[in-house]
C-alpha cells in the first residue's frame, strides 16, 4: 500500500468514527424531529435509519463548523416526506404542507417544550406502580402492545386507552410543576 493510500484509508476510518460519534450524539433529537411528523415509534425509527444512511453518503459535504443536528434534520425531513409518499394514511395526515408547518412550529416551541419536559422524570416517578410499569413496558422495554396488554390484564384497545390516559396525567403533572416553578 502506498503512503498516500495508507493515509487515505486512515482518513476514511477517522471520518467514520467522527460520523458515528456525531450521529450518536444527535440520534435522539433526530428521532424526535421525525416523530413529530410520524409519531409511530417503529416507523419513526425506520425513517431515522434511512436518514442515517443518507447522512453518511453525504457526510463529505457536512461543514464541521456548523452544528450537526440541524444539518441532519434537513435530511430527516426529506426522508420523512419520501417515506409518507408511499403510505396513504400518513400522507393524508400531513398533506397540504402540514409536515413543514409542524416541523417549523415545533422548532419555535422547543425551548418552551424543553422547559416543561424537565419535569417529566419527576412526574413519571409519581405514577402509581401499575401505570408506571405499563409505561416502562411500552416505551422503555418496548415489549409491544400485546404483551403490555396481557401483563396488565387488559385488551389491546384498553391498553392503548390506558396509555393515552397516562400520557394525559403526565402532561397535567408537567404543566402543574412548570407553573409551580414559574410562580
Amino acid at each position: 500500500m502506498s503512503p498516500e493510500s495508507t493515509s487515505l484509508s486512515a482518513d476514511k476510518t477517522a471520518s467514520q468514527q467522527r460520523f458515528l460519534s456525531l450521529f450518536l450524539r444527535s440520534e435522539r433529537e433526530i428521532f424526535r424531529y421525525v416523530a413529530a411528523l410520524v409519531p409511530n415509534v417503529a416507523d419513526a425509527e425506520d425513517i431515522v435509519q434511512q436518514t442515517a444512511i443518507a447522512l453518511w453518503e453525504k457526510f463529505d459535504s457536512y461543514d464541521p463548523a456548523q452544528p450537526f443536528t440541524p444539518w441532519a434534520c434537513r435530511f430527516a425531513l426529506n426522508k420523512t416526506k419520501q417515506w409518507i409518499e408511499r403510505r396513504q394514511r400518513w400522507q393524508a395526515l400531513l398533506q397540504g404542507g402540514l409536515a413543514e408547518e409542524l416541523a417549523q412550529r415545533r422548532e419555535e416551541l422547543l425551548p418552551d417544550i424543553e422547559r416543561r419536559l424537565k419535569h417529566l422524570e419527576g412526574c413519571l416517578n409519581q405514577l402509581p406502580a401499575e401505570q408506571r410499569s405499563m409505561v416502562e413496558g411500552y416505551y422503555y422495554r418496548r415489549d409491544g402492545i400485546e404483551k403490555v396488554a396481557e401483563g396488565s390484564g387488559r385488551t389491546v384497545a384498553a391498553a392503548y386507552k390506558t396509555l393515552q390516559r397516562i400520557r394525559q396525567a403526565l402532561q397535567a403533572c408537567i404543566e402543574n410543576s412548570a407553573k409551580g416553578v414559574a410562580s
Partner: protein
C-alpha cells in the same frame, strides 16, 4: 367527520396517531383541524413530544425503585434492551459503511511488545464475540489476553486483536492457531483479517497456502482440501503449499487452491464475508457508543459536590500542558500541570490518555482543604511495574494527614496514610491485584479512606480487593500532589525507593472529599468499562 379543539375526539385522534391506529376519517379530520387551528397545532406538537420523549430517553426510567436520582448519579448503564435498540440504527449505518469496506483499524496495543519490563506471554486479545460457542471445556473470556495456541470455535463469531495491530474475525466452525503477534494459522473455517500499516507482514498459514499481508484487508475460506483467498483492499502475497512461486494479488482479486493443484484466480466476493464485516463494524460502533455513554455519565458525575478533582483526559489541544479539572465544584482547582508524558489512545479509539514512561513524567496539582474521608479512583493501563513502588497518586513528601497510593512491583496495591506524629503512618496492602495478565489492559482501581467508620477499602474493577481498619486520625489533606509520580521533597534522590514513576497510561482520575459507597465504586467501574460484558448478535 370533523374534529374540534379541545374535544374528546381530538384526544382520541392524537392518541390513535401515536399508536398508528387512526382511521382514514380521523387523519383527514385531524389534518384539517391542525392546518386551521394554531392552538390545536401547538397542543398536538406538545403531546407528540411527550410521547417521543418517553420513547427516546431511557434515562427517564433509571431512577425508579425508590432510589433518588442523586444516589443514582453514577448508575447510567442502560439495560441491554436499550443498547441493542440504539445499536440497530448504528448497525444500519455500519452495514452501509461495510459496503465501502475500509481497512485501517485504529490500533492501541501495537507498541506493547517493544516495552521493557515484565510482560505476559500473550500475543493477542479476544476483543469481541457474538454467539460464540467454543469446543472443549475452556472457553476464552472476553477481553482475555491470548497466548500462542489453538482456538477452536464451534459456532458464532470472534474477533481477535493481535498485538501487532492485525484484527482477525473468525466465523465458526473454525480452528485457528495463534502463533505470534504477527502470525496465525487456520486449519478450517472462515476469517477476515484487517491489517493496518504498522502490522504489515502479518502472516496466516493454511493447509494449502501461506498468505502474507501487505497492509490490507482480506478474507480466507479454509476447508480441509481447499483454500479461497479474497483480497478486499490493498494487496496480498501468497504461496501455495505445492511450492509454486510467490504470487501477489491486488484488491478485488482472489485465488483458490484445491488439493495439490496450482492456484486458479477468481474475483473477490465480499458478500460471502458479510457477517464477519458486520462484527468488525459492530465493534467499532459499540466502542463509540461506550465512549458516549461514559461521557454522559461523566458529566453527571461532575455535578457531585464532593468531587474535588476529575481529570477526564479529553483534551482538544494536546500541545496544551494544562490538564483540565472537569469537576463543577466552584472552589475546585482549575487544572493540573502536565510534566513530560505522551498523549496516547485511551479505553476507546477516540478517547485520549496520558502515558507515563520516563522518571520525570507526572501531573502536578494542588488541592486545598481538609477532609474526614477521601476516595481515589483511576482507569489505568499498566505496561510494567519497573519500580519497587509505582505511584498512582501521592501528596508531596511525607506530610501529616496525606496519603500515598501506589502499586508495588509484585502487583500489590498499597495505600499509605501518614499521621501527625513523626513515624506515625499506616500502610494498607492488598493481595497481589495486578498480575502479568492484566498488563496492557484497562483496569479500574479505587481506594476509599473512610475517616468516619475508620476503614480503608481497595477496589479492582469495581470489586473490593481488601479491607483494613484505619488507625490514622483525621482530617486528611491533599495539598501539593502528583499523579503518576512523587515529589520526595527533600528526601535523597539516590535511594531507589524514592524513584516512583508509574509505567503505563491513565485516562481518568477522580478525587472525592468523601467516602464513596461500594455501589458507587461499582457504578464508576460499570459506566467506564471499555466494553460491555458480552454482545448479543443482532437477529
Amino acid at each position: 367527520m370533523t374534529i374540534t379543539f379541545p374535544s374528546r375526539e381530538f384526544d382520541e385522534a392524537v392518541a390513535a396517531a401515536c399508536h398508528s391506529a387512526a382511521s382514514d376519517d380521523q387523519v383527514r379530520a385531524l389534518n384539517a383541524l391542525l392546518r386551521s387551528d394554531g392552538a390545536a397545532r401547538d397542543e398536538y406538537i406538545l403531546r407528540l413530544e411527550l410521547h417521543s420523549r418517553l420513547a427516546s430517553e431511557p434515562g427517564l426510567f433509571s431512577a425508579g425503585d425508590g432510589i433518588t436520582s442523586r444516589e443514582n448519579a453514577f448508575q447510567l448503564p442502560p439495560p441491554p434492551k436499550v443498547r441493542t435498540h440504539q445499536l440497530k440504527w448504528v448497525l444500519a449505518v455500519a452495514a452501509c459503511l461495510a459496503l465501502l469496506a475500509t481497512g485501517g483499524w485504529i490500533f492501541r496495543l501495537s507498541h506493547l511488545n517493544d516495552r521493557k519490563g515484565a510482560t505476559s506471554k500473550a500475543v493477542a486479545m479476544l476483543n469481541r464475540v457474538a454467539d460464540a460457542q467454543w469446543t472443549g471445556s475452556e472457553s476464552p473470556r472476553l477481553g482475555a489476553p491470548l497466548e500462542p495456541g489453538w482456538l477452536r470455535l464451534k459456532s458464532g463469531l470472534a474477533q481477535i486483536v493481535f498485538y501487532s495491530g492485525a484484527r482477525v474475525v473468525v466465523e465458526g466452525p473454525a480452528e485457528v492457531q495463534i502463533v505470534s503477534p504477527s502470525e496465525a494459522s487456520c486449519r478450517s473455517g472462515r476469517l477476515t483479517a484487517d491489517v493496518p500499516p504498522q502490522a504489515r507482514g502479518f502472516r496466516i498459514g493454511t493447509p494449502q497456502m501461506d498468505v502474507t499481508d501487505l497492509g490490507t484487508s482480506f478474507g480466507l475460506d479454509v476447508k480441509e482440501r481447499r483454500t479461497e483467498l479474497h483480497v478486499f483492499k490493498g494487496s496480498v502475497e501468497f504461496q501455495s503449499a505445492t511450492g509454486s512461486a510467490r504470487q501477489s494479488l491486488k484488491e478485488g482479486a482472489g485465488a483458490v487452491t484445491e488439493k495439490s493443484r496450482s492456484p486458479t484466480l477468481i474475483s473477490a466476493d465480499p458478500k460471502a464475508f458479510a457477517a464477519l464485516f458486520d462484527l468488525q463494524f459492530k465493534s467499532s460502533a459499540a466502542e463509540v457508543l461506550r465512549h458516549e455513554q461514559w461521557r454522559a455519565a461523566s458529566s453527571r458525575l461532575n455535578d457531585d459536590p464532593s468531587l474535588l478533582l476529575h481529570f477526564e483526559f479529553e483534551q482538544t489541544d494536546i500541545s496544551e500542558w494544562q490538564l483540565r479539572n472537569a469537576s463543577h465544584r466552584k472552589d475546585a482547582p482549575l487544572e493540573g500541570t502536565i510534566v513530560g508524558c505522551q498523549w496516547t489512545d485511551g479505553r476507546w479509539p477516540d478517547k485520549q490518555a496520558l502515558e507515563f514512561r520516563s522518571v520525570n513524567d507526572r501531573v502536578r496539582f494542588d488541592v486545598p482543604g481538609e477532609y474526614e474521608s477521601l476516595t481515589l479512583a483511576a482507569w489505568v493501563r499498566v505496561q510494567g511495574l519497573d519500580r519497587q513502588i509505582n505511584s498512582l497518586f501521592m501528596s508531596d513528601g511525607f506530610e501529616a494527614g496525606t496519603v500515598h497510593w501506589s502499586v508495588r512491583q509484585d502487583g500489590v496495591l498499597a495505600l499509605t496514610a501518614i499521621g501527625s506524629e513523626p513515624r506515625d503512618h499506616q500502610i494498607c496492602i492488598s493481595p497481589p491485584a495486578l498480575t502479568l495478565n492484566q498488563f496492557g489492559l484497562w483496569v479500574h482501581l479505587a481506594v476509599v479512606i473512610d475517616g468516619g467508620t475508620k476503614n480503608v477499602v481497595q477496589y479492582v474493577n469495581g470489586a473490593p480487593a481488601s479491607e483494613h481498619a484505619l488507625n490514622i486520625n483525621v482530617p486528611f489533606r491533599v495539598g501539593a500532589a502528583e499523579v503518576g509520580n512523587w515529589n520526595a521533597k527533600g528526601f535523597p534522590k539516590s535511594d531507589p525507593f524514592m524513584i516512583r514513576n508509574f509505567g503505563g497510561a491513565m485516562d481518568e482520575f477522580c478525587l472525592f472529599g468523601r467516602a464513596l459507597r461500594a455501589e458507587e465504586i461499582r457504578g464508576l467501574y460499570s459506566t467506564g468499562r471499555p466494553q460491555p460484558e458480552s454482545v448479543a448478535l443482532e437477529k
